[in-house]
């Protein structure tokens, strides 16, 4: 789960990492009179490259500020509507560095990364990054911090503060079950002190429930993803015509590959995952899932499931029930394989606009053909 910049900065404050003074507003009418200038106005969106897209504004007085707020609030940047703005006191850094902590799948561990070149896209200055591996059993040890800080060649006062900041950052990272905590840039001010000008924090989805304060944070920006996430299902929206629903992630990707091979394009890719194991709640879940998909107005839906243990009849019944109660009629191809799959045809024949097969490739061909005919 990705946190918004202002939410990440809230956590920073809790852990003693200094951030600029600021307020978050969520409407054009919010009171702005108690602001001290100059300020920076930052849209709170979960897409990168706000600055390059002209989203970050500076204001020297109240008129400039009001104009920026009017222009930015409710407008969209990179396809996302701006619903919140963070207005902060503008800092005057003498130097900007990059600092982050992240899990690294390649080494199956955590990394601390720093660079003397902050404030730019870190991918562009990869060679300048200093990396320290943190052993999961040792945690952050003083020698690791020492090595990192000394390679940045900072003045003593700043270096000492940085050591302390790294420890606080590691505490946040471990206690909040973060997968990423990134400060870019971390500003060094005139007096040698540090200030986190930006915040990017990502929390392990499996651990969000442990932290009550995260409950209201980091809403995903597309309602499709959110509707499915509430059901325990992962899905992504695309701009083709065929909505694919599969009984597993590998199956989902393979179905997508096959459909594209036959000339089709996906409107959505959905993985039912573990929800299929709970047959009591499944009918309700699959209906809500299919409704969210129908709202995307695909030309056709493909349901692809190969069950080892579950009874295919129960799945077929749940699908037919959903189609009967559908808010919108969408042609559906069902590929079901597993126990009692020979009984599925009988159950599905009760519905209209539904075709059925036990063959993976036939199902993909059928759905691409249907999509072609409807367009």
């Amino acid at each position: 789960m990705q946190l918004y910049e202002c939410e990440g900065k809230q956590l920073f404050q809790q852990y003693g990492i200094p951030v600029p003074k600021g307020v978050v507003i969520s409407s054009k009418e919010s009171a702005l009179d108690s602001t001290s200038f100059p300020v920076v106005v930052k849209p709170q969106v979960l897409v990168g490259g706000r600055g390059k897209a002209g989203g970050i504004r500076f204001a020297d007085n109240i008129d400039d500020l009001q104009r920026s707020v009017r222009e930015l609030m409710d407008s969209s940047i990179k396809g996302v509507i701006i619903q919140r703005l963070l207005i902060e006191e503008k800092a005057r850094p003498t130097k900007e560095i990059y600092l982050s902590m992240a899990t690294d799948r390649n080494s199956a561990g955590s990394l601390i990364m720093a660079s003397p070149i902050g404030g730019v896209d870190i991918e562009e200055v990869k060679e300048s990054i200093i990396t320290v591996h943190v052993n999961p059993f040792l945690g952050l040890q003083p020698y690791m911090t020492r090595g990192l800080v000394s390679s940045l060649k900072l003045e003593k006062k700043t270096a000492d503060q940085l050591s302390g900041l790294i420890q606080k950052m590691y505490k946040l990272y471990s206690e909040m079950d973060a997968l990423l905590v990134e400060i870019n840039p971390l500003a060094v001010l005139n007096d040698g002190s540090l200030l986190a000008l930006d915040s990017k924090v990502s929390i392990d989805d499996y651990c969000v429930a442990r932290h009550p304060q995260l409950k209201e944070m980091g809403r995903p920006s597309t309602s499709f993803g959110e509707r499915l996430a509430e059901l325990g299902i992962t899905g992504t929206e695309l701009d083709g015509e065929i909505a694919i629903v599969a009984s597993g992630a590998g199956c989902l990707m393979a179905t997508l590959d096959q459909i594209v091979r036959y000339g089709g394009m996906a409107r959505a890719c959905v993985d039912l995952g573990g929800t299929i194991f709970n047959m009591e709640t499944f009918p309700k879940t699959i209906h809500a899932c299919l409704e969210a998909i129908r709202d995307l107005r695909p030309s056709v839906i493909l349901l692809n499931a190969f069950f080892q243990l579950a009874d295919c009849q129960a799945f077929a019944k749940a699908v037919i029930d959903s189609m009967r109660n559908a808010s919108r009629e969408v042609p559906t191809v069902v590929r079901l394989k597993g126990r009692f799959d020979d009984q599925v045809g009988r159950i599905l024949s009760q519905g209209t606009m539904v075709s059925h097969t036990t063959s993976f490739t036939d199902a993909c061909r059928m759905v691409v053909e249907k999509a072609r005919r409807t367009s």
Binding site: R105, D177, A249
Partner: protein, 290 residues
């Protein structure tokens, strides 16, 4: 012989008294998989379908000589279960549990490495040597014993593959599922090496997906293998930057795309396919040649 598990294995289920655990126990007994014990702290002295339940893995190892464990506890408890199993001397573990926090996975993988243990998963559909030992959610009646080894990240995708090859009369020596999470234990390289040494396996099918570097690292092992390797990497058409179901199925760098991995595997000598249909055809053609 098969790899990892066979008819000589002595299987333990950690979390046996839960719903999932009981179902696995029932199936294992039906399949004649050598299940010897279960562990659920506090439920020792019970029996599940005649199988003794212990309070600790140490007791299960001492009394029943269990040597491989299937972990079906809820995600947050998996780490503790793995540590306990490794400390009790178990060196082969399948973590079927999902929802395991990433930091826990990191510790599991590192502890396994430190102790020379082979830990599959987390979020692994399991390991099965058909006809000998089934530690997976695969239906024994759907998979044929044979001489092809399969190693896959995804469980559901492996079903398509073993089903597909059965139409050519081909069966499986052992199928290993590595799991769909970002950070997992046993790697493609680990399993390929085992298959290369296995007298019951003639050739291997590698089923990868987008994200991570496991498949690319496996290329080095493939280069030095004598046995034939077929490979499919799912997600050639997956949109960049999106998570495709599995937490681990997300492209981090350009080297983690399906296309790049297929290219790397092809250069190492694997016979590659970019759809399931093509993979099955490839394997079928090879089989009918002989």
């Amino acid at each position: 012989m098969a790899i990892v598990v066979d008819e000589m294995s002595r299987v333990l289920i950690q979390g046996i008294t839960g719903n999932v655990g009981r179902e696995f126990a029932g199936r294992m007994i039906e399949d004649e998989t050598p299940l010897v014990a279960g562990v659920t702290p506090g439920k020792g002295q019970q029996k599940i379908e005649g199988i003794p339940v212990f309070n600790s893995v140490m007791e299960a190892v001492h009394d029943e000589k269990a040597d491989v464990s299937l972990i079906v506890v809820p995600g947050p408890f998996a780490r503790d279960a793995v540590f306990e199993a490794i400390d009790a001397g178990i060196r082969k573990i399948v973590v079927y549990a999902e929802g395991v926090p990433v930091l826990d996975s990191i510790r599991i993988v590192n502890y396994a490495k430190l102790n020379g243990a082979l830990v599959f998963g987390p979020n692994s559909a399991g390991v099965i040597s058909p006809g000998k030992c089934n530690l997976s959610d695969i239906n024994n009646k759907f998979i044929k014993p044979g001489r092809l080894g399969i190693v896959s990240r995804s469980g559901t995708l492996s079903y398509e593959i073993f089903d597909g090859i059965s139409h050519f009369g081909l069966g499986v020596s052992t199928l290993c599922c590595l799991g769909g999470d970002m950070i997992t234990g046993a790697t493609f390289s680990d399993i390929l090496r085992l298959f290369e040494e296995d007298s019951d396996t003639d050739s291997v099918i590698l089923i990868g997906e987008i994200g991570g570097q496991g498949e690319s690292k496996a290329a080095e092992v493939i280069r030095s293998m004598k046995k034939k390797v077929f490979a499919y990497v799912a997600g050639v058409s997956a949109p960049p930057g999106r998570r495709m179901g599995h937490a681990g199925a997300i492209v981090g760098e350009t080297t983690e795309t399906a296309s790049h991995k297929l290219e790397t595997l092809k250069n190492a000598g694997a016979d590659c396919a970019s759809t399931v249909e093509d993979l099955i055809k490839l394997i079928g053609r090879e089989a009918t040649k002989k």
